[in-house]
């Protein structure tokens, strides 16, 4: 029974909340680390821009802070960053932005893409069935997983 906790909506929601918090922390640390390497940027400098102390800022990046949107905006401002906001609809892959659906992912354009793909598929199957096709072995479409490649 307890093994099903992973599919419990409350468990999944808590996980996704934590991962979103981690995404912001990771995003900003990635910028800080890169600048630290290139320009000697310091947490002290960030703390000063934010009007807080270095210890507080350092703690953020060793933990799991639940920043308010205002804090996220302040950090982005202090780091001179523009944040882009997108939401991907899991069921369709459509991308929503604050100014509407991303043009390449409207249902119409995705349908059009599917039609083109189907036409290409038909052409490919016609070519494969062609009597002029040589007897060479069909290339496998199975791709090694990323791990298999890494290993």
């Amino acid at each position: 029974m307890t093994t099903n906790r992973k599919t419990d909506p409350k468990f999944v929601r808590a996980y996704e909340r934590g991962m979103l918090r981690s995404a912001f922390v990771s995003l900003f640390w990635g910028v800080i680390a890169e600048r630290k390497k290139r320009e000697g940027y310091t947490l002290q400098a960030l703390a000063q821009s934010l009007g807080t102390n270095k210890a507080e800022v350092s703690r953020w990046f060793n933990g799991n802070p639940n920043w308010t949107l205002n804090t996220v905006a302040s950090i982005a401002n202090a780091l001179n960053l523009d944040l882009r906001i997108e939401a991907v609809e899991r069921s369709t892959g459509r991308i929503f932005t604050p100014s509407g659906v991303h043009p390449s992912t409207t249902l119409e354009s995705m349908q059009k893409g599917a039609e083109i793909a189907t036409t290409e598929e038909n052409l490919t199957s016609q070519i494969l069935k062609s009597p002029y096709r040589s007897n060479e072995k069909q290339a496998t479409t199975e791709q090694p997983t990323e791990f298999a490649k890494a290993a």
Partner: protein, 164 residues
């Protein structure tokens, strides 16, 4: 490695909700997999924070790393005095757990032995020997990945806790 994976003596521990391609890979023994899934100690696991560490690690998100004895609480630490034995530190569920293992490659960590933090106290040498013996049994002839900098072990976003 392929034999260990094929024979399911090691399994790829996937995040609860994978986010695109995995940047890093966590391989675990079936025993650790069962532990994390709550099939060994139901009630303790599965745990959101433990899953989140797997999620952060796999996605290439920020993880904190130390290669020294430290009072900080890194996510991943090298065991000082052992031959390339590392620990993935699950701070929750309490009192905390350590997944001891070795790096097979950059970004590929193989967790071989789970320890409850309190049980491990004072037993590090023995625990590390077990890890090395497990490694040799599972991956005969293969040397663990080694490096001199944290960046030799993992890419993505990380914080070296040993830096000032």
């Amino acid at each position: 490695m392929q034999q260990a994976l094929g024979g399911e003596r090691l399994v790829l521990r996937k995040p609860l909700k994978p986010l695109g391609d995995q940047k890093r890979h966590l391989l675990v023994t079936p025993r650790i997999n069962a532990l994390l899934d709550g099939r060994v100690l139901p009630g303790l696991f599965p745990d959101v924070e433990a899953e989140r560490l797997v999620g952060r690690f796999s996605a290439g998100y920020l993880v904190t790393v130390s290669r020294r004895i430290t009072k900080k609480k890194p996510d991943v630490e090298q065991i000082v005095g052992a031959n390339e034995v590392w620990a993935m530190c699950l701070r929750k569920p309490r009192p905390g757990w350590r997944l001891l293992g070795r790096w097979h490659d950059k970004n590929v960590f193989v967790a071989l032995r789970p320890w409850e933090k309190h049980d491990l106290a004072g037993k590090y040498p023995q625990a590390c020997q077990e890890v090395i013996a497990d490694w040799e049994g599972l991956l005969p002839g293969e040397q663990p990945h080694t490096g001199t900098e944290v960046s030799d072990y993992l890419s993505g976003v990380y914080r070296d806790d040993d830096e000032p």
